[in-house]
């Protein structure tokens, strides 16, 4: 048995693609995941570049011209004035604190993911299960936080913002609470549109990542990868999960900080 195994190459070796060569020394699945991720990079870049273009086409808030900051349709809002609410702390101004917590949750779930991949290399099935579960918990917590943030953004502050607009040739004043795709108490409607599109598209990615993670956890727990002899699926889905974390790093900087 040992002698034949040494001389006869297996008919199909998972390390090489079907032709017996392995372009870029990466398995087929991993390389295709990389190319999918680069195409996804273009989609997210398009959204963030659009944000930059639209933001630069609006006046920026300038204390010398506009006085003390308040929500207005005349200029682009300062993100830290918009995102300052935290669950259970109604009426307390805590700029960017909740977004910061969400950022740490996602970074931490990325760490547990890479720990699952590392455990997979050692074929340590219980450790893979444990870390996959933590990653799923992190992903679900992030999604819950985002749902709360969206809900707050849509419902708005207690005071609302007074908007002057022309209705049937007359100037009319009216108070707007929160934001949707056509009106926005925090600033120009485009700001709310971009918020919904960018964080929504990212949230959809987190959701599909959680679904994939649950699938991987299930297949690990039932011993499929142990029987297969390797945990490469964990690595491939791990690449996707890290990408989702990476996108959030960029969204955090360009949407919330700058």
């Amino acid at each position: 048995m040992a002698a034949t195994a040494a001389t006869d190459a297996p008919a199909f070796d998972k390390k090489t693609w079907m032709g017996g060569v392995e372009p870029m020394k990466a398995s087929y699945g991993k390389l295709m995941m990389w190319f999918f991720l680069i195409s996804d990079t273009f989609t997210f870049s398009a959204l963030l570049v659009t944000y930059g273009l639209i933001r630069f086409s609006y006046p920026a808030y300038d204390p010398a011209i506009h006085g003390e900051f308040k929500f207005s349709q005349l200029y682009w809002p300062i993100p830290e004035k918009v995102y300052e609410a935290v669950p259970f702390l109604h009426g307390v101004e805590l700029p960017l604190v909740f977004v910061g917590i969400m950022t740490f949750i996602l970074i931490f779930s990325s760490v547990t993911m890479v720990l699952a991949v590392e455990a997979g290399h050692r074929r340590d099935q219980p450790a893979v299960e444990k870390y996959m579960l933590w990653t799923i918990v992190g992903g679900l917590t992030f999604l819950g936080s985002q749902a709360w943030e969206w809900s707050h953004f849509i419902h708005g502050t207690d005071e609302g913002t007074i908007i002057r607009e022309i209705v049937n040739g007359q100037w009319v004043e009216r108070t707007v609470f929160g934001a949707n795709l056509t009106e926005n108490q925090y600033g120009p409607p485009a700001f709310a549109d971009l918020f919904f599109f960018i964080t929504g598209f990212h949230g959809t990615h987190v959701l599909s990542g959680v679904v994939l993670n649950i699938l991987i956890f299930y297949r690990t727990a039932t011993g499929l990868y142990e029987r297969r002899g390797h945990y490469e699926m964990v690595e491939k889905v791990g690449l996707y999960w890290h990408f989702v974390d990476l996108v959030w790093v960029f969204v955090f900087t360009f949407f919330y900080l700058v």
């Binding site: 020394k25 930059g52 273009l53 990325s110 760490v111 590392e118 455990a119 791990g238 790093v249």
Partner: protein, 108 residues
């Protein structure tokens, strides 16, 4: 005995020790940079310098996530460049359209 190339030696029981030092080091770096970003967000006056610092820190974070967590640093050069080159063109598109946005503002 075990001549199979893709089977581990430890079929049952004996599992190798975890090698997690580099992972935690990367996590501490990412957490420290994020904490520093918060500090800068509330202590520095708004301006080009602040934005430049934020962009720089974001690129450092991206480098650690892609390089260590996604393992790209340890892949072959061809793969690294096939991922990196398209992203450089994206930066070009970003700069071009930011200037375009500024032009729209001037025209309004």
């Amino acid at each position: 005995m075990a001549e199979h190339t893709y089977h581990h030696d430890n079929e049952h029981g004996a599992v190798a020790e975890p090698q997690t030092k580099a992972i935690w080091r990367t996590f501490y770096i990412l957490a420290a940079i994020t904490a520093l970003e918060f500090l800068i967000a509330f202590t520095m006056p708004h301006g080009t310098l602040k934005i430049a610092i934020f962009v720089g820190m974001t690129i450092v974070k991206a480098f650690y996530i892609v390089g260590e967590f996604m393992h790209l640093k340890h892949e072959v050069k061809t793969l690294i460049w096939s991922i990196l080159l398209p992203c450089i063109f994206v930066v070009w598109l970003l700069l071009a359209l930011l200037m375009e946005g500024g032009a729209i503002f001037q025209a309004r």
